[in-house]
């Protein structure tokens, strides 16, 4: 069912005229209700589609049949009060659920008085307070919930007390890890990191004097690069981290100052005053989402998250329905993006057979050859209703445009982007034989492709087009100076015409994509990627340096959800080896890689024999391995083992386990240390899980976990809770004061300072398990082969930390698994699927992948072979020609060129041209700055 917008999407041009006089008001959700917005609104400036909507609950026309102003002022005739709910029926083969979450509402917590104290805010509110587009334009101030210009007397009085805060506190785990005041036993996974971020940004905005304190239980920063961020927050930014849960908050009603009292780690009661308190609220699944799940018949966990299996982490309990994002357990942006790609791959795998059966071909209009013809330019000036014409004298600009050199047609149109205007443009181009088109309207960033399509429909090369922005850069920003805006519009049109006159038809090179894939690494992530690509019909070569598939997963016992890893792994390996689209190369190493996206040739070495493999894309999934610790007497006694050794004992049902009386786990062995400043992400859950297993084996066994912060993120927190309930004892240590291990014949003695008693305690154990760091392979050779970066620790650096987590900046190369960052089974599989999904976007376009026309090209006659372009290009596009008449001269590979122009600007011989932004074109704009008098 589609709810009515009351604004026709096909007509709304998002000019915003309707909001200016709208009398209806309601809280602006995007600004965490800190601002009001009008009844006709757009949710936020970057909304897609950028179309307005009416809130029927507050609109006077829809509630009381009064007003109707927006209909009167709308220049596009887009308002339609008669719209009703529509039921749309879509036939789909797969469904992906991504309904997200809502932030926890802390109003019901009477101890923090969020509902009553104006200076207690939620983290979502604080997020908007920090934003330059938020209610205070990024200025951190107390009483942020008051309107900017309060009208009520009471608000006015309070507003006078507004001040720049000197002390701000963040309270973690509000609505998370809490079954007393709410029913959310899980960890929301994201709050620690966003609180650290908010504190740093608040200090940046307010200056160094601002005192920021974060009150927390465990600092959970297990994401990639997060631990370093946390360390920087402590040491570089001076954020205070206080391990304590604050009981309650009171207020000085006069000043709005907040008083708190808490117990510090030494057991002392501390009293303190803060100007503002930010509640780090957790993530919750809405009732609406639960209802949707019920309707669809999919199983949920008690907290309302979709139930998924570790080996099918984006597949719900119902066939054909997939899930991604926070609904699939609380997660941060990169994991949500990975989930989304993975869900797309899972949904696509199921539909592989019917791929492209519903697509329709678009007819292509043959292109007119205009090379050598005298420029014949048409200029179209858009009024954009009154958006441009209300400020700029459009008829005058049109008249003026007609006088410019080479211009044969100058037309004013009400909405250049409307379908009828486009049709008319095609007609005029054909009728007048135009060979260049200039449109003066809004921004080319959104509208250039549309007009280029119009040119194509008129048989013109799409690069014979120039657009100039007389709305966003002119009428909207100079609305009080119509004369000056008109002059500026004339200048802009003149400059655009000058550039257009020099435009040349450009060719988009076809990229040939070899439809086979190479996956490096036969672990879980690599196998998952290979399986997905093969099931989509692509020949996949899986390279494994060892003699068998499975990787590190072969050493695992069970997943955090209790699944038997070896059973599932066996099934996956069988699927891989029996799939005729997958060629498994065991005992094989990679000796060299040539080529680029779509056309790689790799040298594989198997048993001393080298063969060449041609492939279009590559997935790197080389994994990580457990560290060999050099502390805690590891290697000196067989009672001191690593987590994976304990897994082996469980897998083999080692009788030694039955005799264990006292077992100790030490966490962060080699992780979160200066030489390895990252969190290995998987160890906390793994140790907690194994501790439970020991307790289940024999409830009499004493089990201790010695930790720094327990990082059982998401619903893994339930395991932590279960472990405590089963009697596992958790003792915290500081990195400056590590436990000491003494090996004695009858037992292992582990001594550490108890942080509650502040006294040394000694535990006698007969089994010590070290949660050893996961260490990447730091394969510099492989990184060089594909020209992909490694970070300081040796993990691969992805294209974008948030938005491109499964791909590299190098086109056609993808990353998955622990080679990217340590990850548990379900996350390695998700990323394997995600990498396959990203690779598919290239493979599926095999016959229709073209470069842009706006790329660099070399005039070989002028090239002086200096090599600057080769050394400077961030995409490795230029190289010296190896053969032919111009061997030795530079050449730019059109497939790799991104058209940035760095080489063009750097070429000392002027030998490189950037098509579409060539030197003469930019100079022509400069020369046209002033009218020729």
């Amino acid at each position: 069912m589609k709810k009515p917008r009351y604004v026709r999407e096909d007509r709304c041009i998002a000019c915003g005229a309707c909001t200016e006089k709208c009398p209806g008001k309601f809280d602006d959700k995007y600004n965490a209700d800190l601002k009001a917005q009008t009844a006709i609104y757009v949710e936020y400036p970057q909304a897609v589609p950028l179309k307005y909507a009416i809130n029927p609950d507050v609109c006077l026309k829809l509630t009381k049949d009064k007003c109707g102003t927006c209909e009167e002022v709308c220049p596009a005739d887009a308002i339609d009060y008669t719209m009703t709910e529509e039921t749309l029926s879509i036939a789909a083969g797969s469904i992906i659920l991504a309904p997200g979450f809502k932030p926890f509402d802390p109003s019901k917590f009477d101890n923090y008085q969020y509902a009553n104290f104006p200076n207690v805010v939620t983290s979502m509110e604080f997020e908007r307070i920090l934003s330059a587009t938020g209610p205070t334009m990024g200025h951190v101030t107390t009483f942020p919930k008051l309107p900017a210009n309060p009208k009520k007397k009471k608000d006015k009085l309070l507003a006078q007390k507004r001040k720049d805060p000197k002390k701000i506190a963040w309270f973690q785990c509000v609505g998370s890890r809490d079954v007393n005041k709410c029913d959310n036993p899980y960890c929301s996974s994201v709050c620690c990191m966003y609180a650290v971020k908010e504190a740093i940004i608040a200090k940046e905005h307010a200056g160094g004097d601002l005192d920021c304190s974060i009150f927390f239980m465990d600092m959970r920063t297990p994401g990639k690069e997060f631990e370093k961020y946390y360390e920087n927050a402590k040491h570089k930014h001076g954020i205070n981290f206080i391990r304590s849960r604050v009981h309650s908050v009171t207020e000085d009603p006069e000043t709005g100052d907040l008083f708190i009292q808490y117990v510090d780690e030494m057991g002392q009661i501390v009293k303190d005053t803060y100007d503002m308190i930010v509640l780090s609220v957790g993530l919750e699944i809405t009732q609406q989402t639960r209802d949707l799940a019920k309707k669809l018949g999919i199983d949920l966990t008690e907290s309302g998250f979709a139930k998924t299996a570790s080996f099918e982490p984006v597949t719900t309990s119902r066939d054909g329905i997939y899930v991604s994002g926070v609904f699939n357990n609380p997660k941060d942006i990169p994991e949500s993006v990975l989930d989304a790609s993975a869900a797309a791959s899972a949904a696509g795998d199921a539909l592989a057979e019917v791929r492209n059966t519903l697509t329709k071909e678009f007819p292509v209009v043959p292109e007119t050859n205009v090379v050598g013809d005298r420029p014949n330019i048409g200029v179209f000036i858009c009024d954009c209703g009154s958006n441009i014409a209300g400020v700029v004298d459009c008829p005058h600009v049109t008249e003026y445009a007609a006088t410019l050199p080479y211009v044969t047609v100058a037309e004013e149109t009400t909405y250049a982007c409307s379908q009828d205007a486009q049709d008319k443009m095609v007609e005029i181009i054909k009728e007048k034989g135009l060979n260049r088109v200039v449109v003066a309207a809004c921004t080319p960033k959104t509208h250039e492709p549309l007009f280029q399509e119009t040119l194509k429909n008129a048989g013109l090369n799409k690069y014979l087009f120039e657009m100039t922005n007389i709305r966003n850069h002119n009428s909207w920003v100079h609305k009080n100076n119509p004369d000056i805006a008109t002059d500026k519009a004339k200048d802009l049109v003149r400059m655009a015409v000058a550039k257009a006159a020099l435009a040349q038809p450009l060719k988009e090179e076809k990229i040939n994509v070899n439809a086979s894939v190479m996956v490096v690494g036969g672990g879980l992530a690599g196998m998952t990627a290979a399986r997905s690509l093969a099931s989509q019909g692509y020949e996949t070569h899986l390279i494994e340096k060892k003699d068998c598939l499975g990787g590190e997963a072969l050493k695992l016992w069970k997943t955090a959800q209790g699944e038997d890893v070896q059973k599932e792994l066996d099934a996956l390996i069988k699927e891989i080896t029996s799939n005729d689209k997958i060629v498994v190369h065991t005992n094989t190493t990679l000796e060299g890689v040539d080529g680029f996206v779509g056309n790689f040739t790799s040298q594989l070495k198997t048993d001393g024999k080298t063969t060449a493999l041609e492939h279009g894309v590559a997935v790197l999934a080389t994994g990580a391995k457990a560290l060999e610790p050099d502390e805690y007497s590891f290697g000196k006694d067989d009672r001191i083992i690593r987590t994976l050794d304990l897994d082996k004992m469980f897998k083999e049902n080692d009788p030694k386990l039955d005799t264990v009386q006292s077992a100790v786990f030490i966490q962060c062995v080699g992780s979160r240390e200066p030489q390895r400043p990252y969190c290995s992400r998987v160890c906390c859950t793994h140790s907690v899980d194994n501790a439970i297993a020991l307790k289940e084996k024999n409830p009499e066994t004493d089990v201790f976990i010695i930790y720094r912060d327990i990082r059982t993120y998401g619903e893994r927190e339930l395991l932590y809770k279960e472990a405590r309930e089963k009697g596992v004892i958790f003792i915290r240590y500081d990195v400056e004061n590590k436990p000491e291990v003494v090996v004695e014949e009858e037992c292992l003695k582990i001594t550490l300072t108890d942080h509650v008693l502040n006294k040394p305690v000694t535990i006698h154990a007969d089994l010590l398990t070290l949660a050893a760091a996961l260490v990447p392979r730091k394969d510099e050779r492989l990184a060089n082969f594909f020209k992909v970066p490694l970070n300081d620790e040796g993990f691969f650096v992805e294209k974008h930390a948030k938005l491109g987590p499964a791909e590299f900046a190098t086109d056609g190369v993808f990353v998955a698994g622990s080679a990217h960052y340590p990850k548990p089974v379900n996350e390695a599989i998700t990323q394997g699927r995600a990498a396959a999904s990203r690779a598919l976007t290239l493979l599926a376009k095999k016959d229709s992948l073209f470069t842009s026309g706006n790329i660099a090209s070399v005039d070989v006659q002028k090239c002086s072979v200096c090599g600057v372009c080769i050394s400077i290009c961030p995409y490795n596009a230029p190289s010296f020609l190896a053969e032919g008449r111009f061997a030795g001269k530079a050449d730019v590979n059109p497939v790799l060129c991104k058209g940035c122009g760095l080489c063009v600007a750097s070429c000392r011989s002027g030998a490189i041209h950037l098509r579409g932004f060539d030197t003469n074109q930019i100079l022509s704009q400069i020369f046209a700055l002033d009218e020729v008098s």
Binding site: N469, V477, K479, N854, G899, L902, I926
Partner: protein
């Protein structure tokens, strides 16, 4: 053009500053009408030649943003 009007030639990177100028418009900010935007694909495209040419053509200032 009147003498009190100045002209600032602004070379804006398509991906950041040009988009920011678009957003300034969407947000209905107001600023003096002295700038003339030339869109470039990346500030790496910028060449000293363009700056000198702009001054030679009478620009009062040149702004490169990316």
């Amino acid at each position: 053009m009147a003498d009190d009007n100045i002209k600032i030639v602004s070379f804006l990177c398509n991906w950041c500053s040009y988009g920011a100028a678009d957003l300034a418009g969407v947000s209905r900010m107001e600023y003096p009408a002295d700038i003339r935007v030339i869109r470039i694909p990346c500030s790496g495209r910028m060449s000293p030649k363009f700056i000198l040419s702009a001054f030679r053509e009478g620009a009062d200032a040149v702004w490169v943003s990316g």
